[in-house]
Structures are given as C-alpha cells and as structure tokens.
Symmetry: C2
C-alpha cells in the first residue's frame, strides 16, 4: 500500500490543474496523479492534429508543470475506490491510501444507441485518447470521403481540418445550422457560409438514420432517404460524463448523470471532490443544471477543488458555469459567452439585444483588418448582461473574454457603455466605433425610459 | 445668428462621439458640431500614414455616423464663446446660440521652450492635423536621416513606420527605456530590443540639448555632447491640453492646465461640458489628477457628456481614468492597464506582483503561436487589481482589455483565479496555462496567510 495525501484521478486538463493547484497551495502535502494515458492530449487541440499541427505528438499536454512541483504521476487504471477506508486500487500499481481525493475522469464521446452501424469499421469518435486517435488518423490518411455527423465545435473543427488535409468532407447536422446550439442564427449562418466556401459540404436540417456497410462503413443513410458514400464516418455528437468509477464508489449523480458537486466541488462523500466534465454544472445565470463541458470551465473547477481541499475559502468558489466558447475558421473567429438570444427567450428572460458591426482594426485600411460584429443579450429590467456573441478576426477569441468577464462580474450594459478600453490601430477596433461598446449603446437606447 | 440646441466644439474622437451620443439620446434636439478640419484624422492611426496605410487619406475619421443621425457639421474656427449669453462666434459662419455646449478641443503637441532650434525647417511634431501631416509626410519622403525625440507610444510607432519606409531612424529618449513611462522595465526592454532588431537606432538615457542647423535642421546635439546628423527631426514629447478658448470664456482649469470637469463632465460654468484631452482627468486608483490622454478614454468622457446633457444619470458617470494602452511592433504587442509596479510603489501602495509567461495558442506548435507574458499588480491587503501588463501576439490588444475591465469592476485577484475564460487552440493560450490566470495564481500564493 502506497500512501499519498492528495490523490487525483484523471490526467487531462482537470487532473493536471487540480494536482498543480493542490500542490502549490498545500506544498507540505504529497500529491499523486493517476492517469490511464502515458501521453495526454491537449483536449481542445485534438481537431488540429489532422492538419494544422500535423500529428498528435505535437499536441501533448506537458508534464513539466507537475514534475516541477513534485506531483507524482502514476500511469495506471483505477479499478475501485473504497471511500470509507480511503483506499484506491489500481490495476497494476497496487493500492493507494489518501486523505483527499479529486475525481477528474472527464467525459467520453456519445455513441447513440438508436443509431445502427456505429460498430462498423472506420466509424470513429473523437475521444481524448492518443492511442485511439493515432490509429484513427492513420486510417483516415488513406481515405477520401469522410462524413462527419454532428456540427458542434468538434464536428466543425474536425471537418475544416480534414478538408484542409485534402479530404472530401461532408458535415451532417440535425439542427438548421452548424453550431446552432451555441450561436444565434445570424452568427451560425455566417460560420456555415464560410465553412462551405472552404469546401466542406454541409447538410443541415438533416437527421441520420443508419450507417450502412459490410464490415466497414460504406454509406450514411439520412432520415430523408438520401445516401452519402463514405470511406469513414466521424461521430461528433457530444460527450457524456465518465462516471463509472464514481457510481461504483457510491457517489451521488445528478439528473443529467454528472457527479453532484457543490461550490467548493465537494461531492456527496466526505473528502471526495469532483471537477471537470464528470462533475455537476449549474448555469451561472439560470441556476439550472447544465451539460456544458469546456476545458476552461474544467480548469476553473479544478482550481476550486485544489484550493478548498484542506481549508474552505469563500473567495475560491465555483459560481456556476458561464459557457464561453470560441472557434476559428481560416482567418475568421466566432465566440460566445453566456446565454444566446434564443436560449434566453426560451428560458423566460425578458431581454433586449443590441448588435453592431465594425472593423477590428482602425483605420479599416490596415492590411489585416477583418469585420467585427458584437451582439449583446441583456436582461430588460436590470440591464445585467446575460450573454454576448462575437464574430471577427483572430482577436475575437480574447474579445469574447471581455464579455465573459462582464457577465461574471454582474456588470450592467450601462457599465459597458462607460467602459474604458485600450485601442490600437493594428490590434483593435477604434474607440469611437468599438463594436462591444456600440452594441451596448444600442441596448441602452432601447432601455431608456421616456 | 444660427440656433442649435447642442453645440459641440472639436471634430476628433471626442467631438464625434459626444455629438453622436447627444443626438442618439436626445433625438429631438438639434446637434451641431463645429470643427476646424475639413477632413479629420483618426488620431491613433496617424503614425501608420507613414508606411502601413500609405497616406493620410487612408486614415480619415468618417462623417457617416454624424450624417446618418442628422448632426450638423460646420467646418470653421470658433473665435469666442459668451457663456452667459450662450453664444458662440465663429470666424466665417457667424454666431451660434446654444442650450448646451460640449468642449472637445483636444490637445496640441508639446514643443519645449527650453529646447533651442525647434523653429528650424524640417523639425516636425505630430499634431492631429491633416494639412500639416501631409506636408510633413511629403517632405519626409525625400529625406533619409530622421531623428525622433521622445520614445512614448507616438515616438515608437512613428519610428517603426519610418524605418519600415526605409528611412535611417534614430529614436532618442531621456528615460532608461523606450516606453519607460508606461511599462515596467522587463516589458520596456523587450519592446526596445525588438524595435532595435528591426533597424531603429535607439539612444536611451539620452537628453537633447539643442537642434542645430542653418535654416534647416542638420544635427541633434545631445546632452552628452554627441551629435546625430539629421535631415529631419520629429518631436514626440507628449501633448498639452488645448484650452485657449476655454480660458478665454472663463472656465476654470486645474493645476495641470486641464478644464475642470466632474463625473458628468460638467465644467465650472452652467450648461458647459468638457471631454477628452482638454478635460480634467482623475486617476481611477489614486484619486490624483492625471495627465493621461487616450482616444479611448476621451470617447468614454464624450459618451458621459452626451448622456448627461439634459438629464443626469448616475450610471453614466466617468469614474476616473484607467490608462489602457497597447502598441504593436511587427507581430508582437505590448499592452498595459492601470498602474504599473514602479508607479504603484512610488505612490505608496503596498503591492504584490505576479508574472507568467506562456504561449498565446495551444499547443505551442500552432503556426502563428507567440510567447505571451502577463504581469499583475495587486494591492496586498485587499487583493484588488491595480494594474496589469501584457506582451504577446496581436491578441494581447484585447487581452489587456480583460485586465482593464477587471480593474474597472474592482475585481480582486481571487476573482481572476476563479475566472472562467474562453480558450481555443488557434486563438488563445490554453486554459491550464492561461498567463492571466497563472499570474493571478502567482499573486494569490504570496497573499496566502499561513
């Protein structure tokens, strides 16, 4: 039996950050991280192994941070945890006793039971597993016609990358638009047009009935009866929390199947914390359970767990999930923070929205200038910012973080109008025509009482 | 006598935004803007007319926004204002009566009296004046050896542009580093090395005694006795508020020579507002008078004046200047928000700082990845964020706005550690190694009570 003070299960973003935070803040404690993978993928970087960075070896989450702090890394599989005896049993490395346990087992790709043919050869998912991905990548290299099913971020990014790699890519989506669950229609259609212009064949409003083939997949049969020829199929239909271990050790799960966890990321059992994709999320603005899984949110949760292990501190609490996403297609980027218009209306918020389109450099004659649109979704009575969407150049990825921070600090749209910003011709929109502020002004005009 | 409801004097960023805000929020009022210039320069874009955008015609502040709203534009010079009779007299267009007046007369380049030789030919400043700049640009075109005196943002940007245009440029600065008044030394030296590597000759710790010549400037005599040969000299020694009109109409000025103005941007006279470079600034964190002039701050002040003209509203107040600057040299950017370490110490703040260097993409193998460093300056007892500095790729221009917003919403460093962020491989640093959050963590570790 090996003894450790803090045991972290899972080696992706959550495990890494939880272990580093724990060791940084409790340097006298021994921290051990157990993970299945010898080499860990940077989760968000996975789509880019197919073209931009070339292969999975260029997308490794480095161990340097863990090693420098003195976190012990054990590559092994956890078989069971006895939460009363505080003992974790691994497949090959024996037992580990612990004082505090952090579960960061992440998520696994969804493979729908209702979809026939997913067991055919050359039907792939996108798990965070280097061995699997390397094999998939190798097999895809020899193929041409790829059908990607599901046009969320992963589906869109993988499609764009395979298209860049010269494949004939068809992207199939049930919703009316790609990225349609995350962006309002004007942003989603813009992204869709751009992706199509780059050569990806896009079929929206389009269900999939069955994957057809004979040993290997050969065709995708759509709900409308059409058939797409396919050398390979990639399922990008979302992820489900990986909670088998948690269930077996008696942790409570919530209605969506996530491990119940409070604002300190404590679970239903003493001294057991959970963070990241496997742990319960509550939406920041609605207070409802959420299914949003993001590496960045996972890292915040991991920091929360690591900080509160031995001493709760009220300023390091997880205050609910603010979904902040972005993606990049060519030189264009799309970002969203918080609640989009369609979701806000469905939830029952009374909202006012404002949009503005400008340019992300000033003057617009700066050579790499790109149009930039910001939309804000604001609660009508309070003026509080519920959400925002951005499309623009590559700096839109940080601009959406400005909106995300505004949401998290409960700013009102009036505060945003009064916000002082840094502007620079080669880096940002102009101060007079800064789309974020102009969008805020467009909202405040509607809120003005006459 | 022409009659208007709102009269705005000045056509640069302040006048534009004040007039647009006034007309948007009080659509029944007639708004007139009087400005000297037929065509107005985008102020921050001026350095880039020398190479990147080619000429001043590609750097025009458009009138479309004013025209679309129905703001009347008068190109003329204001001679006097009678604040009791509420009458403004122009050179060629006669008199204008008004209900509310907004003064946005801006600033003028400093030409130090102690410096001999500034009246020689081919000694230029960088005013916001197209006619002057066009003539300067034309004359510079035929010259090679240019000495730029003063290495603030304008001096650095003009030097880099003239260097790009093939000139032999020497940049002279009294402080130990270029940008030394705005950045802590580690950031300033990085910028300095980069600018030097691009071919600009940099002389720091270097006073100027006199400009020498015979009709035209020929040499710059330095305080150490050295002489630099010069076909032209550009003085970039800062700007002073342009307050002659304000003085003549009896407005109170503050100790730094700016027009006194309160949180609504009201001056010492009824119904007269002032905003932008000519108007009083108080630092957000120190409460002291400030000399910081920024187009973005000017726009915030202009919005404040425009919103409060006829009806004060407490949520649209100017809460003090947060200096947020950025600049770009090649593919590298430097940004700063709030108070830097050296200034905080000098002011008497007890501070803790934290820095972290990472990469602005993830994995670092993404082709346009750039190193990214963030430094935070935090008040020791409260944990409130006083300032931050960034160096990185082009997205650093928006990243510094995240810090700027954190300062303006009185966030603590603990809030920043817990901040959820949007991350994307092609657009941002990784969530686990996000330099802003890692810098915040470095601070909180020092604040931890044992």
């Amino acid at each position: 039996m090996r003894k450790t003070d803090v045991l972290v299960i899972g080696g992706s973003a959550t495990g890494l950050v939880a272990a580093m935070t724990a060791k940084s803040n409790y340097p006298d404690k021994e921290v051990t991280l157990i993970r299945k993978e010898e080499k860990v993928m940077i989760p968000c970087g996975i789509p880019y192994i197919f073209s931009t960075v070339g292969n999975s070896d260029n997308n490794i989450l480095p161990d340097g941070g863990l090693n420098n702090l003195g976190v012990k890394i054990v590559v092994d599989e956890v078989i069971t945890v006895d939460p009363k005896g505080k003992i974790c049993t691994t497949k090959d490395s024996g037992d580990f006793s612990y004082e505090k346990l952090i579960i960061g087992t992440g998520s696994l790709p969804v493979v729908p039971r209702w979809l026939k043919g997913t067991d055919l050869q050359n039907v792939f998912t996108i798990p965070k597993n280097k061995v699997y991905l390397d094999e998939a990548h190798q097999r895809l290299d020899g193929m041409n016609r790829i059908v990607v099913i599901g046009a969320g971020f992963i589906g869109v990014e993988v499609s764009d990358e395979l298209n860049k790699a010269g494949k004939d890519v068809t992207l199939v989506e049930l919703l009316p638009n790609i990225l349609g669950a995350t962006f309002d229609v004007e942003f989603a259609t813009d992204a869709e047009k751009l992706l199509a212009s780059r050569g990806v064949k896009i079929k929206t409003n389009c269900g999939v009935r069955e994957l057809l083939g004979d040993g290997s997949v050969k065709q995708v049969l759509l709900a409308n009866g059409d058939v797409i020829e396919a050398d390979a199929v990639i399922l990008s239909l979302g992820y489900a929390p990986n909670t088998e271990l948690a269930k077996n050790m008696g942790l409570e799960l919530n209605a969506f199947g996530f491990i119940k966890a409070d604002q300190y990321r404590r679970t239903s059992l003493p001294d057991v914390f959970a963070a990241g994709d496997c742990a319960e999320k509550v939406d920041f603005s609605t207070g409802k359970l959420s299914r949003v899984m993001l590496a960045s949110t996972a890292c915040t949760e991991a920091r929360t767990a690591g900080l509160n292990l031995y001493e709760l501190n009220t300023y390091s609490t997880f205050r609910g999930t603010v979904g902040i996403y972005s993606t990049c297609i060519g030189e264009s980027s799309y970002g969203v923070a918080g609640i989009i218009e369609s979701a806000a209306v469905a939830e029952g918020f009374h909202i006012v929205t404002g949009s503005f389109t400008g340019v992300d450099r000033h003057p617009g004659k700066i050579p790499d200038a790109h149009s930039e649109t910001v939309k804000l979704i604001v609660a009508r009575q309070s003026g509080v910012i519920l959400g925002g969407e951005v499309m623009g150049g590559k700096c839109a990825g940080e601009l959406v973080n400005v909106i995300g921070l505004a949401i998290q600090s409960h700013m009102t749209v009036h505060d945003l109008v009064m916000m002082q910003i840094g502007t620079q011709p080669l880096l940002t929109a102009s101060p007079a025509g800064f789309p974020l502020i102009k969008a805020a002004e467009a909202v405040t005009k509607q809120l003005r009482v006459h």
